[in-house]
């Protein structure tokens, strides 16, 4: 008798799985498990940075593309470093990242083709209201970084090889400083988590403007330095080279890149606002 109860339990588990599946979509069970929704659309994997996905821009950009072409864009949000690695391994079809030197190297080494610059925004230095390093209003990024290091004011670094992290390390290098010591702390986490940590520790941090706007109401940190040329944050899009990885969806990647530089997509980028502020500026309008 008791074994019957166990059999019932196993059946309940199977039924739960199947019912849950029918609720998710009308596609077959195996289709869903394989990541298909059963429609005749091809999958296009876009590896991008957390800042673009968290900004909500992609949710505005992608539907118009999916409507026009028979592709379904699957967004995998990782840092720029990992996105490029996905490209090198052929685990993504198209990349949208922000680290120009690394992108150029990626293309030079034959991993990517058809790189296009699509939009830009900028970085800002955030700091606590009492501004212990006294850099508020400095437009010179190198000067600001040097002062933070001299004063040994707590600075939070992403430390995760992301585009923002690469930019930050580039500024330190240009300033001729090798940041180390108790005041320099690496989180190894995303932009949002790192801002939260900086906020809790009353520290300085380099952030992209978009993430700052999204977090502005939740933190006490404010912008202490902005406007330097070095803060320019350029977003590029690259198709993964199908010569290296024949399995990638190269046609889809090309179509997506063409779409991103089209007037339609560029206008969506221009008109996308958060809290009344534009987050990204189109480059092809």
């Amino acid at each position: 008798m008791r074994t019957k109860k166990m059999a019932i339990l196993v059946m309940v588990m199977v039924v739960v799985t199947v019912v849950a599946q029918t609720q998710v979509s009308e596609a077959g069970l195996l289709d869903i498990f394989r990541g298909d929704d059963g429609e005749e659309v091809e999958r296009l994997i876009l590896a991008t940075t957390t800042s673009t996905e968290n900004s909500g821009l992609l949710e505005q950009l992608i539907p118009a593309f999916e409507e026009k072409y028979s592709y379904r864009v699957d967004v995998v949000a990782v840092g720029t470093g990992r996105a490029l690695q996905h490209g090198r391994d052929g685990d993504a079809d198209v990349l949208m990242v922000h680290a120009k030197p690394a992108e150029l190297r990626f293309v030079e080494n034959g991993y990517g083709v058809n790189r296009k610059e699509i939009m830009y925004n900028d970085f800002v230095i955030l700091g606590p209201k009492n501004d212990p390093a006294n850099i508020k209003g400095t437009t010179d990024a190198l000067e600001a970084f040097r002062t933070i290091a001299e004063e040994e004011a707590t600075f939070i670094s992403r430390g995760d090889n992301s585009g923002t992290n690469k930019k930050e390390l580039g500024i330190w290098e240009e300033a001729g400083i090798d940041p180390s010591g108790e005041w320099y702390q690496e989180t190894g986490q995303g932009m949002g988590s790192s801002i939260t940590i900086a906020d809790q520790k009353d520290a300085y941090i380099l952030s992209d403007r978009g993430t700052y706007i999204a977090f502005r109401d939740k933190i006490d940190l404010e912008i202490v330095s902005e406007g330097d040329e070095v803060f320019y944050n350029l977003y590029g899009v690259i198709a993964v080279n199908s010569d290296k990885h024949p399995d990638v969806n190269f046609e889809g990647a090309q179509a997506f890149i063409d779409y991103l530089v089209s007037e339609k997509a560029q206008k969506i980028i221009r008109d996308y606002k958060m809290d009344g502020e534009r987050l990204f500026n189109p480059l092809k309008l």
Binding site: M6, A20, G35, V76
Partner: protein, 230 residues
């Protein structure tokens, strides 16, 4: 404090409005975790029985290894599965990366040592006593075995419940292997991690409350089966 209140009220709103995207995410979580627990149980319970029942060389080492695997971090299993199913990996052409099937595969690996070790322990504990008693009372070997299964099934169910708890609550593996792709591989735990990174703490907490509610419901069902006798 604000986050907690905000989270509670957001959770209630999400639950009652049945936001279709949240419902999809929750159902995918249930589907993936139930599948992996089921597979791990079908493999793990017989395996636990074999290890408990038969004496063979190296048995102690196998048990130690199984016990060690219990503390395997989810992100390590994620990394392992990732490198196997990545395009560069040996299973690359199966195209399992960023699919629910990939997550199920990884979660099965997470759940398996739990099912095996815990069922092994309950079988080992009652085996000698029950089989000896049954045999001495004149039962056949087969009858003694059936009796053993009847005695240990509640303990084994406990093992399954524990495994389920591990997989439905894990985030490292689902994030790495699934990629948190909207409408495809986004589960409750990866959605919570994402909302947290976006600074939407209240919403993240709300999803957490939904996850706990699901876990509670599932545990109530399993406990019904476990304690139906008492």
């Amino acid at each position: 404090m604000d986050y907690i209140l905000e989270g509670l009220s957001a959770a209630l709103r999400l639950l009652f409005n049945l936001n279709p995207e949240i419902r999809e995410i929750a159902l995918l979580s249930i589907m993936v975790s139930t599948s992996s627990t089921l597979i791990a149980s079908l493999l793990g319970i017989p395996l636990g029985f074999v290890v408990a029942h038969y004496d063979f060389q190296g048995k102690g080492i196998i048990i130690t290894i199984l016990n060690t695997l219990l503390s395997l971090p989810t992100v390590v299993v994620g990394l392992l599965v990732f490198s196997f199913i990545s395009n560069q990996g040996p299973l690359g052409n199966l195209e399992l990366l960023y699919t629910p099937l990939g997550i199920i595969m990884g979660q099965t690996i997470l759940a398996l040592p739990i099912v095996v070790t815990l069922s092994l322990n309950v079988i080992k504990e009652s085996e000698d006593k029950i089989i000896d008693t049954a045999l001495s009372l004149g039962a056949s070997k087969k009858q003694a075995m059936i009796l053993l299964f009847k005695e240990v099934r509640f303990g084994i169910l406990g093992a399954v419940i524990t495994a389920y708890g591990r997989v439905i609550g894990e985030v490292g593996l689902s994030m790495m292997v699934g990629g948190n792709i909207r409408r495809v591989t986004r589960t409750l735990t990866t959605a919570i991690a994402m909302e947290t990174s976006k600074g939407e703490f209240g919403f993240g907490l709300a999803l957490g409350i939904i996850l706990m509610t699901i876990a509670l419901a599932i545990n109530l069902v399993l406990h019904y089966f476990q304690e139906v006798r008492t």
